[in-house]
C-alpha cells in the first residue's frame, strides 16, 4: 500500500464511503432542497394572495385626521359653540415594560399634574399586554403641556398624548336646548349639534398607510394613500342671543314667581320668515357640563338608597333637563287656538265683524250629554265678533266652529300644519313642522270619521276653542304667525346659513313658504281683532300683555291637563299666551307656556294673569332692541313712569314747582334753604306720583332697608310703601290705573336688604275681578 497507509493515515475513502457519500449528496444536496422549493412554491406562488391579504390587513392602518368642527353663530355672528384643540393622555404599558420605565414615577407625575388617583394610574401602567390605556380625555392645553414636559424630562415612551377637540359653549346655559351638545366622541347628541352633526363635523381625512407593528409610520413613504378631510361648516342661526337672553330671563322669573311645577317653554319667531329668534325651555342646563344636574336633583340623587336607584334618578334628571319642551312637548292649546278658528271662519266668510253672538253661559252640542260651559258663569251676553275674541268666549267659538263645519275645519287644520290627511278616514292623524332641530314631536288629532261625524259635533265644538287634540307649541306659533303675517304659513327654521371655513357662504336658507292659508285681507282683520284683545284695557282678556307705547296683539290660553286630573285628583293647568308685535306690521311672535303653576303663588292661575305679563315683559325688552319706536298718546304719557330731574341747588319754592312739574310728590329733610341732595338720584325712571326726598343742607342717611312683599298690592300702594323706605318702583307694564292694577312680580325679592335709592321693577296685572277666569 501507499506511504500514507503506513503513516497510519488510513488512505482514501473506501468504496462504501463513496457510495454512502453519493447517497448523502442526493439527500442533502438535492432532495432536501427540492422539498424546500416545493414548500416555497406552495407559499409564494399558490397561496400568495391569501398571505398577502392577511399581511396587508395587519400592516395597513387607517388614520383618520380629525377635521375641525364648525362653529355655531347666532344671527349677529356671536359664537354659541366653538371647538378648541385639547389632548387625550394615554399610556402604552407594553412599552413601559419594554423600556423598563419607572411605573411609580409615571403614576406620581400624572396623578399630580392631572389630579387623578395615584393607585388607579399605577394599576393602568401594569396592564402590560396593552398599547393603549386611557388616563384622561380632553385635557386642556395648560395641563397637557405639563404632561408633555414631564414626558420629555423623564424620557418616557410609555406616556402618550393624542390630539382631540373639545366643544366649548361660551354662553353656558343660554339657548342650551337649541344648541345641544356633543358626546366624548364629538358626535352631536342634542339640538343643532345633533341635527347638523354631519355638516358641523365635516369629513374626516383618511390616511391609509403601511405602518410598523407599533402603528407608527414606516421609514419611507411607500404605500400611502391620502384623502384630505374637510373641516365642518360653520352654522349661522336665525337665533338672536339678545332676544334669547330676554326670553330666558323673563321665563325664569315667571317660573319663580308663579312656582311653576313642571317647567315652561317659550318661542320667539320671526313672523314673516318662520325663523326662530329664540327658543327656551325650563329647566335649562350648562352646555359645558351637560351631565351635571341641578342642585335639587343632585340632592335627591345623593339620598338614593342604592347605586342603581341613584343612576336611574340621574338619568331621569338628565333626560328632563335636556328635553326641549317647546319642541318635544305636546299639549292642548286651549283658547290660544281660537286665533285659528277665527281665521278660518273669517276666510270662509262663515262669520263677519258685524255678526253678533249670544253667550248665556253654556251651549248644547249634538252628541254631547252635557252642554259646553263658558269660562264665565252666567255668560257674556250679546257680543260682536271682536268682543267674543276679547272675552275669549267659549260659547261664541263653539258657534263659530259649527258655522265653519267639520270638513272645512279639518281641511284648515291641515292647511295650518296641524295634521296631514292620509286618506284613511279611520286613522288618527299627526303632523310636524319639519323644523331643522332634533326631537320634534308630532300632533295627535281625531280621525276624519270621528271628527267629521254628522251625528256627533262634540269634537268640532271642543276643537273650536282648542281642546281634545294635542299639538306642539312650535306648531301653534307657526300657524298663528301665518294668521297675522298675511296668511303665509312659513316652515320654521333655525339655521339660516352654512359657511365654509373661509367664511364664504356654502348654503343660504331662504324662508320656505309652505302655503298661503288665508288671504291678506283676512289676516289684517285677525291682527286688528287680536290687537284689541291686548290693547283694550276694559274688555281685553289679554290686557296684561300690553306694553306702553307698543301695539301688541295676542291671545290667552288656559288648558286643563285632563289626564293628570284623573291621576292626582287635582286640577292642573298649562297657562299660555301668544302675542305678536307690532300689531299693524308684525315682526315677532312670542309664545309662552307655563306648565302647572302652583295655586299657592297668590296669582290667579290663568293665561291672562300669568303668561300674558311674561310676554309683555319680554316684548318690553325685545321691541326696543329690534328698533321698534314706541308711540305714546297723551293719555298714556300721564300714566307712565317719569324720569327724575336734578333738583340740587334749587330753593324751596323752585324745587316744589319743579317736582310738581315732573309729576312727582316730595317730602323734605333738613332746615336749609337750598337742595343739597335728593333720593332717588337724578336720571332714574320711577312711578309717577312717587314721593321723593329732598335734602336741604342735610345728609342722606346710609341706612339699609328690607324690601317688603309687594305682590297683590296695587301699583300706587306699592309705590307709596316703597317710597316710605326710600326705595322706588318702576314698571314696564302700561299703567292704566295705578289704583287697581296689581303687582304680580317684583325684580328684587321680598326680604332682600338694599340701600336707599334702589329701584324695584314690578310687573302689573289687571286687578279687575272680571279678569279672573280660565280662558
Amino acid at each position: 500500500m501507499s506511504e500514507s497507509v503506513e503513516k497510519g493515515r488510513g488512505g482514501g475513502p473506501n468504496r462504501q464511503m463513496l457510495r454512502r457519500t453519493l447517497a448523502l449528496m442526493a439527500l442533502c444536496g438535492i432532495a432536501a432542497f427540492l422539498a424546500l422549493l416545493i414548500r416555497l412554491y406552495k407559499l409564494q406562488i399558490i397561496d400568495h394572495e391569501y398571505y398577502e391579504e392577511l399581511a396587508i390587513q395587519q400592516q395597513l392602518r387607517e388614520a383618520a385626521t380629525s377635521p375641525a368642527r364648525g362653529t355655531i353663530f347666532d344671527t349677529n355672528m356671536n359664537p354659541l359653540a366653538v371647538s378648541a384643540s385639547v389632548d387625550n393622555i394615554y399610556l402604552s404599558p407594553a412599552e413601559i415594560e419594554m423600556y423598563g420605565e419607572d411605573r411609580e414615577l409615571i403614576a406620581r407625575g400624572l396623578s399630580e399634574i392631572l389630579g387623578l388617583d395615584y393607585d388607579d394610574i399605577l394599576e393602568k401602567t401594569g396592564r402590560t399586554g396593552s398599547w393603549y390605556v386611557t388616563v384622561a380625555r380632553k385635557v386642556e392645553a395648560e395641563q397637557a403641556d405639563e404632561v408633555r414636559r414631564f414626558k420629555t424630562e423623564n424620557g418616557l415612551k410609555g406616556v402618550r398624548l393624542e390630539t382631540d377637540t373639545k366643544r366649548y359653549y361660551p354662553n353656558s346655559c343660554l339657548a342650551c336646548h337649541l344648541i345641544g351638545f356633543v358626546g366624548m366622541d364629538n358626535t352631536g347628541l342634542e339640538g343643532i349639534e345633533a341635527k347638523y352633526d354631519s355638516a358641523l363635523s365635516g369629513s374626516a381625512g383618511r390616511t391609509l398607510r403601511a405602518t410598523n407593528a407599533y402603528g407608527t409610520e414606516l421609514l419611507f413613504g411607500s404605500f400611502e394613500e391620502y384623502s384630505p378631510g374637510e373641516d365642518g361648516y360653520d352654522l349661522v342661526l336665525t337665533v338672536d342671543s339678545t332676544i334669547q337672553y330676554y326670553v330666558e330671563k323673563h321665563l325664569k322669573q315667571a317660573v319663580e314667581d308663579y312656582d311653576i311645577q313642571n317647567g315652561a317653554g317659550a318661542i320667539a319667531m320671526d313672523v314673516n320668515t318662520g325663523g326662530i329668534l329664540a327658543m327656551a325651555s325650563i329647566d335649562g342646563y350648562d352646555l359645558n357640563h351637560f351631565l351635571s344636574v341641578s342642585d335639587e336633583a343632585q340632592a335627591l340623587i345623593d339620598q338614593a338608597a342604592t347605586e342603581e336607584e341613584a343612576a336611574e334618578l340621574l338619568q331621569q334628571a338628565q333626560a328632563r333637563q335636556w328635553r326641549n319642551k317647546a319642541l318635544s312637548d305636546t299639549y292642548e292649546p286651549g283658547s290660544t287656538f281660537k286665533i285659528i278658528t277665527l281665521s278660518m271662519a273669517l276666510e270662509e266668510g262663515a262669520v263677519d265683524l258685524r255678526d253678533s253672538f249670544y253667550c248665556g253661559g253654556n251651549v248644547s252640542v249634538l252628541g254631547r250629554t252635557s252642554p259646553i260651559r263658558c269660562w264665565k258663569d252666567g255668560g257674556h251676553g250679546s257680543q260682536n265678533l271682536t268682543q267674543a275674541v276679547q272675552h275669549s268666549c267659549n260659547v261664541a267659538f263653539v258657534n263659530i266652529g259649527l258655522r265653519v263645519g267639520a270638513e272645512t275645519f279639518y281641511k284648515y287644520c291641515e292647511a295650518f300644519g296641524f295634521l296631514n290627511i292620509t286618506g284613511d278616514p279611520d286613522e288618527n292623524l299627526t303632523a310636524t313642522t319639519g323644523i331643522d332641530l332634533a326631537g320634534e314631536s308630532g300632533s295627535i288629532w281625531w280621525s276624519q270619521n270621528t271628527f267629521c261625524s254628522e251625528k256627533n259635533l262634540s269634537q268640532l265644538a271642543a276643537a273650536s276653542f282648542g281642546q281634545t287634540f294635542t299639538i306642539t307649541p312650535l306648531q301653534l306659533i307657526t300657524a298663528v304667525s301665518a294668521c297675522v303675517n298675511g296668511g303665509k304659513l312659513m316652515q320654521p327654521y333655525v339655521v339660516r346659513q352654512m359657511r365654509n371655513p373661509d367664511g364664504t357662504a356654502a348654503y343660504e336658507r331662504e324662508p320656505t313658504l309652505v302655503r298661503q292659508v288665508i288671504s291678506e285681507e283676512t289676516s289684517a282683520k285677525v291682527r286688528s281683532i287680536l290687537e284689541q284683545v291686548v290693547g283694550d284695557p276694559n274688555d281685553g282678556t289679554g290686557r296684561n300683555a300690553a306694553v306702553a307705547g307698543y301695539r301688541i296683539g295676542g291671545k290667552t290660553g288656559t288648558s286643563e291637563k285632563v289626564s293628570l286630573e284623573a291621576q292626582t285628583g287635582e286640577k292642573e293647568y298649562i297657562v299660555s299666551f301668544i302675542g305678536f308685535a307690532p300689531a299693524d306690521d308684525p315682526q315677532i311672535a312670542l309664545l309662552v307656556f307655563l306648565d302647572t303653576p302652583s295655586n299657592k303663588s297668590g296669582i290667579y292661575v290663568s293665561g291672562g294673569q300669568m303668561a300674558a305679563p311674561v310676554v309683555g315683559n319680554m316684548m318690553a325688552d325685545i321691541l326696543p332692541y329690534l328698533g321698534v319706536e314706541p308711540v305714546l298718546d297723551e293719555g298714556e304719557a300721564g300714566s307712565m313712569d317719569v324720569t327724575v330731574p336734578d333738583f340740587t341747588g334749587l330753593s324751596r319754592e323752585e324745587a316744589a314747582a319743579a317736582v310738581k312739574e315732573a309729576g312727582l310728590d316730595f317730602r323734605t329733610i333738613g332746615e336749609g334753604s337750598l337742595v343739597t341732595g335728593q333720593l332717588p338720584a337724578a336720571g332714574v325712571s320711577i312711578a309717577a306720583g312717587t314721593q321723593i326726598i329732598l335734602y336741604f343742607e342735610a345728609e342722606p342717611s346710609a341706612d339699609r332697608e328690607t324690601v317688603p312683599e309687594l305682590s297683590g298690592m296695587s301699583y300706587a300702594q306699592a309705590r307709596d310703601t316703597l317710597s316710605y323706605y326710600g326705595i322706588y318702583i318702576q314698571t314696564a307694564s302700561p299703567v292704566t290705573d295705578a289704583e287697581t292694577q296689581k303687582v304680580s312680580s317684583q325684580s328684587i325679592t321680598a326680604g332682600t336688604v338694599v340701600g336707599h335709592g334702589s329701584i324695584v321693577e314690578v310687573t302689573l296685572v289687571s286687578g279687575d275681578d272680571s279678569m279672573l277666569g280660565r280662558y
Partner: protein, 386 residues
Amino acid sequence: MRYDSARLTGFSDTAVKERKAGFDTPFFLLVLILLTMGVVMVLSASFARAYYDPGNITGGNAAYYFVRQLLFALLGTGVMLLASKLPMGFYRRYSFPFLAFALVLLMLVPFVGVKVNGSRRWLGVGGMTLQPSELAKLAVILSFSVLICKMRGRMKTFRYGILPFAAILCAIVGLLVLEPHFSASIIIIAIGGVMLFLGGVRLGWFIGAAAAAGGALAVLLAFFPYASSRITTWRDPFSSSSDEGYQIVQSLYSIGSGGLSGLGLGGSRQKFLYLPEEHNDFIFAVACEELGFIGAVLILTLFALLILRGYWIALHCRDRYDFLVCAGISTLLAIQVFLNVAVVTNLVPCTGISLPFFSYGGTALLIQLGEMGIILSASRTILTEK
C-alpha cells in the same frame, strides 16, 4: 476501482503543483456570493429594528447590525483564507484537543453563561458572545473523522464502531441539555450519525437509533406539554397567531406576500417589527418577501451548489480524514440550511436555527467561514481533471 486509480495517480508531482496552484475557486466564489448576499440581507432586514430600537440596544442607529455583520464578514473571510492555508495535518493533529476545548467551554456555559430567553447558551468573550455549541459541531466532525480513520476495519463492531463515538456524543448532548439547547442537540446527533454512516457503521444501527429516537420523541410529547404544544402550533399556527404561533404566522405572511418576484430589495413591510428575529433566525423570510420566489430559489440553488461542491471536493480527497471532514462539514451546512428554511416555512416545528452566512451573529459567522476554509484547505490536495 476507478476512484482508486485516480487516487494513485494523485500522488504524482503534478499533485504537488496543484496544491501550490491553490484551492477550489468555484467553492470559494460560492461562499463569497452567499456571504455578500447575507450581509446585504442583514442590512435590509435589521435596519427597521435597529432604527426603532425597541430593545434599547442600537441607540437608533439603523446600520448598527449591518456594520457589525460586515466587520465580521471581512474578518471571517480572513479566517477562511487563513484556515485554507493550514494543512489538513494540522486539523488532524488538533482534532481531539479542539474537542476537549469545546467540551470545556460547554461545561463553563451553565456557570458563567449569559442567559437569554430562559436558556444559557452563550459565553461572553470580550464584549462578544460565543455559542460553544457551534464549536462543538465542528469538534464532532473533526474528532469523529480522526476516530473513524483510527478504527478502520473495526467500524462494524459495537465496541469500536459505536461505543467511543456514542460516549463523545452523550457528553456533548448531555451538556447541551443542561443549557437547554434542543436544536443544537438535534444537529450534533444528526451530524454524529452522518459521520458514523460515512465511517461504515452497519445500517442496522441507524434503524435501531431511529426507532429509539422515535420512542424518545413519543415520551417527550406525552410527558412534556411544552413539546406537544409546539406540535400543535406547527400543525395550525393560526390557532395561536397572537402568542405561540405569532412568529411562524408572521413568517408565513412575509414569505407568502413575497409572491413570484417579491417586494424588491429593502421593500419588506413585515420587518417593521411584525416579524420577530427578522435579522437572525427568520432572515430568510425577509429575503423571500423582498426577493420573491425567484430570489428564494436563487439563494437555495447557491446553497445547494455549494453543498454539492463540498461533497465533490470530499469525493476527490485522497485522504480518508480529509474526505470525512469535507463531507461532514458539507452535511452540517446542508442540515443547517434545510432546518432553517424548513422552520421559517413551517415545514417542521419551530426551533431556533440560524441560516449560515445570512443570520446576524458574528462568532457563528467566523466559525462557519472557518469551516469553509477547512474544505478549501482540503481542496488544495485535489488533482483537478484538467
